[in-house]
């Protein structure tokens, strides 16, 4: 039973670099939270502070009911998986798994039972006598996971554990971690720079930038209702298209206009944009919410195809509309299309996003 609570957490490196700024985060017991953001956003530093490998400049960290600010890592009852596995190279896989338990003076019989159980879950039985050097990357990472499981800690911490694996293995290990969390529900914090990993693994996703938390929410929330333009652009692949538009609201109709593009917006969007009449705004459209064809009246525009990326299951189009580059996804793979073609692109009504150009916050109806 261990919830994690971060309050007003800060990390300064000297006087020049403020790596983590006022981070507040509540992680429920048994919850799997993914910390995601571009490199240098403070996510790894935050994780290392939870682990106790990094001092806290100010703020509080609680694990369960204890404030752990000044506790050394060994007393926090946590386990951590590192990017480069961090297996003890001079020990066999068995000794690697046993290391933590031996430090706790657990009896060898109990250690053997715990290792048997973990090895069964992760398929490590044949590897127990080997040295880490004799294992492949995926096997090493499974041993690192095993080392966490046998200790049966209150919290699992993952520091970009899949970054060193190739794409196929990464997808496999993702599923394995998910299965593991279902089998042994333990509070987990998973740091990654890959938004796909964060979305697929996290019960909730925390997006960070420049040391600040941008948004905390379920994968569906951060995808559907991004808290600002950064989150909108960071979550989702291919990334959201952004177009600088001018809002025109006259009579009953609200339109947004840009070079080569004029779209009619309705419903909640029109009400929200009413205050921006004559002013600039940023329109965001996810590539998967655009489609070829006329679509609803006033919802389409002409585009000039520049690059065609055939993925087999679908086509990705890089198009140009006036001075803007716009990506269109989910074009059926059989579509006959070539670069240089002119196409009609339509947006799905109600799935456009609008942001204030100054604050970059979403424009919503009051």
């Amino acid at each position: 039973m261990a919830a994690i609570s971060l309050s007003k957490l800060n990390k300064h490196y000297g006087s020049l670099f403020h790596a983590v700024k006022d981070v507040d985060l509540e992680i429920a017991d048994k919850e799997f939270v993914a910390l995601v953001g571009p490199s240098g956003c403070g996510k790894s530093t935050t994780l290392r502070m939870i682990a106790g490998l990094e001092d806290i400049s100010s703020g509080d960290i609680r694990i369960g009911n204890r404030v752990v600010n000044d506790l050394p890592p060994r007393d926090r009852d946590i386990a951590m998986v590192f990017q480069n596995y961090a297996l003890y190279q001079h020990m066999s896989v068995y000794d690697n798994l046993a290391f933590g338990l031996r430090n706790k003076k657990t009896s060898e019989a109990e250690i053997k039972a715990a290792i048997d159980r973990a090895a069964g879950m992760l398929g490590l039985h044949e590897l127990l006598a080997r040295k880490p050097k004799q294992l492949s990357g995926g096997q090493q990472q499974r041993v690192a996971l095993g080392r966490c499981i046998v200790r049966n800690p209150e919290v699992f911490l993952f520091d970009e554990p899949l970054s060193n694996l190739d794409a196929k293995l990464r997808a496999q290990m993702r599923i394995e971690i998910k299965r593991l969390h279902a089998a042994i529900p333990t509070t987990s914090v998973f740091v990654t720079h890959d938004q796909v990993e964060a979305m697929t693994l996290g019960d909730r996703v925390v997006i960070m930038r420049d040391g600040r938390v941008q948004q905390v929410g379920t994968p569906l929330q951060v995808y559907g209702k991004p808290a600002n333009k950064f989150v909108a652009g960071f979550i989702g692949a291919p990334a959201m298209n952004f177009v600088n538009v001018t809002v025109r609201s006259d009579g009953g109709a609200t339109t947004v206009e840009a070079d080569g593009l004029k779209l009619t917006v309705g419903g909640a969007d029109a009400r929200a944009l009413a205050a921006y009449n004559g002013k600039p705004a940023i329109m965001g459209a996810r590539p998967e919410h655009l489609a070829l064809g006329e679509g609803a009246p006033g919802a389409s525009f002409d585009a000039h195809v520049e690059v065609v990326e055939q993925l087999g299951s679908e086509i990705l189009l890089e198009t140009r509309v006036g001075s803007h580059g716009i990506t269109v996804a989910r074009v059926p793979a059989e579509t006959v299309i070539a670069s240089g073609d002119r196409v009609r692109v339509s947006g799905q009504p109600g799935r456009l996003h609008f942001f204030d150009p100054e604050t970059e916050l979403p424009i919503t109806a009051a």
């Binding site: 682990a51 106790g52 060994r74 386990a79 933590g100 706790k104 080392r147």
Partner: protein
């Protein structure tokens, strides 16, 4: 890939002549290094009358070795050198390994000051340490004692080899130690139980280098010791007397001094190569 088969090694020649040339060059280089040693061994096996005509004459004898081995001063010099080399290696490693680790892992002011200190001392030419050390050992009453020779050696090792050790530790991923700290070790525990075992090839290499360095050292031994603690390198040089040069005895002592160094180098070289590659 063997050098001989590389196409850019004398590309115009046929393969057999490339191989021959390569073998000749190899032989030439080995010969240049081995010749003085071979000459030394030859000299040590000649009677006193034959040392100036090592290249001719067929008379060989082990008399020089017998004479040297029955000389108490030379035997005790051997023991002294072995003892000092071994002790210096042990003490230097104790400090060098932890100091190299600190330089590699910690960035605080203590680490920076230590870094600066050994940097400065490293810049001072080795030879200019000797005279001040002579006065210091004299005034502390350490002249011509084990301690008086051991301490300067350890100090020099620390300055020279902390850097090497820092380089070794830089090459070892620190997350292994973090994992150990999370797994229940203290910082020291992680250092001793995880960092040191992973650096063992490097530490063995360093031990070999330290030992050879002290065994072969001449200057400190000459200046900082007298009759009570003779060292083998100094004793060897003392066959130059007003009665003349006793080449055969000097050569016999030198050959015997070569043996331990040769053995250490022979058994240590695989560690040195592995260690230096980390």
């Amino acid at each position: 890939m063997p050098i001989v088969s590389r196409p850019d090694f004398l590309p115009g020649l046929p393969k057999w002549s490339r191989k021959t040339l390569f073998a000749l060059a190899l032989f030439g280089i080995c010969f240049a290094f081995a010749f003085p040693v071979l000459w030394l061994i030859l000299t040590s096996l000649r009677p006193e009358s034959g040392v100036y005509y090592v290249h001719r004459g067929t008379e060989f004898t082990l008399a020089s070795f017998a004479e040297v081995l029955t000389d108490d001063r030379i035997v005790s010099a051997f023991l002294n050198s072995a003892l000092i080399s071994t002790l210096a290696t042990i003490f230097s490693l104790l400090v060098t390994v932890s100091s190299g680790y600190m330089l590699s892992r910690f960035t605080g002011p203590a680490s920076r000051i230590w870094f600066g200190t050994i940097y400065v001392f490293r810049c001072i030419p080795y030879i200019s340490w000797v005279l001040p050390l002579y006065f210091v050992t004299q005034s502390w009453g350490l002249y011509d004692t084990y301690t008086g020779l051991l301490l300067p050696h350890v100090a020099v090792h620390i300055c020279f080899f902390s850097w090497l050790m820092k380089g070794f530790f830089d090459g070892i991923d620190p997350s292994m130690e973090y994992a150990a700290m999370i797994d229940g070790c203290t910082r020291w525990g992680a250092f001793i139980r995880v960092a040191i075992p992973s650096a063992l090839p490097a530490i063995s290499a360093l031990a070999v280098l330290c030992w050879l360095f002290t065994w072969n050292e001449f200057l400190f031994a000459l200046i900082l010791t007298g009759n009570r603690v003779p060292m083998i390198t100094v004793v060897m040089a003392q066959f130059v007397t007003e009665m003349g040069l006793r080449w055969n005895l000097m050569a016999a002592t030198a050959v015997m001094a070569l043996v331990p160094a040769f053995l250490v180098a022979l058994f240590g070289q695989k560690y040195v190569i592995r260690g230096l590659r980390i």
